[in-house]
Chain length 305, copies 2
């Protein structure tokens, strides 16, 4: 039931995902059963291809996350987290109220012991054809150096296990290349990162390096990351509106990624864009499957022991 | 002598500026007189159209700013600041060592009384055809709320007096529209800005609003602003490299602006890009003239009394 166009876009997205993922993946749809069945039948789908769990409450986009969760124990978001906690599902995604998705991650699934702050990421389409990530992109507006250092490890594990990048190059987003450049946060973080053996720190990267090959994982506080992400969205919109999208710039379409994992919690949680289209939902589900199969959560637990 | 291609690019830029500005502006060239004269003669220019002041020291790009200034009193940068301090020139620009330009601004020309931290800005080409600014873009990596509040006033005065925007809309760069969004810095700054009568505060703007019509002046700390600026440069390069520059994206070429003023010091100081071409130098000089004619420094002094 999550997202601006649910359950239409979510159900259509699940149908697309089923076609792509095949029968080895069980897709569990949480929401108003009669509405879901109506869409499946209209599309000529066999409803027995999906596991449908009826929920009769909906958390609206504007609601206060924690209050909404406790007030709506039978919403698709609340039920999803409960199933994930009980390990009845392997991963859970929603394009609904992202605050509620975060609060649910923290309260139900809980951070991996040792992780100070879970975070979210965005894919970065690189001009060389590869794909990098940037994190955090919005849930930790104020960070300490040790938190950024953990983001680096979380991002490195994600890049390695989900994106398949061997020994990912980790860069610290800064305003100069030299070690002494930056604000108090990045200066102190550079010092920490430079001593670590836990990931492959390649030094500072600048705004101009974001889409280049210098780093696979770019680390920053959630304030800076959110501004970077939204500026990239602004450019994507400008380029699209002016009819200049080529194959490279098309890769900036959020639909290709579908959403971001909440990194650093005990089980795979995926947050989709509120405006998710069927294609975006499909890709969110496919990415969830990749993350489940990568055993990322276990790898993170091992790294943070 | 400042910039990667001086004195060739700077002298050619001065020739272009002379053509555009005419005889009402006296262009004073600081540098190796014989080299400058050689270029002027080669280009068929009349050297008496320019005032040439010979300097025989050069501050290199990599030198430590404060040391370089004291060690090289007869460099073009040192002499320029001295002339500006003595009011023998009305404005001073260089594409040389930008650290030395900043230190010279602070030590020789000095901040306007009341201004806690001078700052630098970047022009923002808006899709609606207008032009906005963002500040600070790099010299104040860590800021306090009262400093951001002053940037807003400085930017508003610049937009009004130099860009000719009546009652400029000032936005605070943040990661959400609502007043309670953001990091500790922007939350506290919002509170300050929201009470002010000194400029037209329109609230928070996000990364996606940077090139839109919501705000004429976008205020942020120098760390965030530098990342925003360099990300825009990255997109400009990508778009250019892919052969997709249209009339709008062409406006992102740094050559169109030439440089940034140091806002909040007692006289017009302009810092150019190290890689400045003749066109960039020409536009730097033309913008310097605009700023001198706008009496911006006096307007700032009045506002900060």
């Amino acid at each position: 039931m999550g997202g601006d166009f649910a359950p239409e876009a979510t159900t259509l997205g699940a149908i697309l995902a089923k076609k792509e993922l095949g029968s080895s993946v069980e897709l569990v749809l949480l929401g108003d059963e009669s509405e879901i069945v109506k869409i499946l039948e209209r599309e000529g789908e066999n409803k027995s291809d999906f596991t449908i769990i009826h929920t009769d409450q909906v958390i609206e986009m504007g609601e206060h996350p924690a209050r909404a969760l406790s007030k709506n124990p039978n919403s698709s978001i609340s039920v999803g987290f409960e199933l994930l906690r009980r390990k009845e599902i392997d991963g859970f995604g929603s394009a609904g109220n992202s605050g509620a998705m975060l609060v649910g991650s923290m309260l139900t699934v809980k951070p991996v012991p040792g992780v100070i702050r879970p975070c979210i990421l965005s894919a970065l389409p690189k001009e060389d054809g590869s794909e990098g990530i940037i994190l955090d992109v919005g849930i930790n507006a104020d960070c300490k150096p040790d938190v950024l250092n953990q983001f680096a490890l979380l991002g490195s594990l994600y890049a390695q296990n989900v994106c398949g990048i061997e020994n990912p190059k980790v860069g610290l987003l800064n305003i100069g290349e030299e070690s002494e450049k930056g604000n108090l946060l990045t200066q102190a973080t550079y010092y920490l990162m430079n001593k670590t053996k836990e990931f492959n720190f390649i030094g500072n990267v600048e705004g101009r390096d974001i889409f280049g090959s210098k780093a696979d994982v770019i680390v920053c506080d959630g304030f800076t990351g959110n501004v970077v992400l939204k500026e990239a969205e602004a450019f994507y919109s400008l380029i699209a509106r002016r009819g200049l999208l080529d194959d490279y710039f098309k890769r900036f379409n959020y639909e290709n990624y579908g959403g971001t994992p909440v990194l650093g919690v005990n089980a795979p949680v995926m947050i989709g864009h509120g405006i998710s289209s069927p294609k975006a939902i499909k890709n969110l589900l496919c990415l969830t499957k990749e993350i489940v199969h990568s055993n990322l959560s276990d790898k993170i637990k091992e790294a943070f022991v």
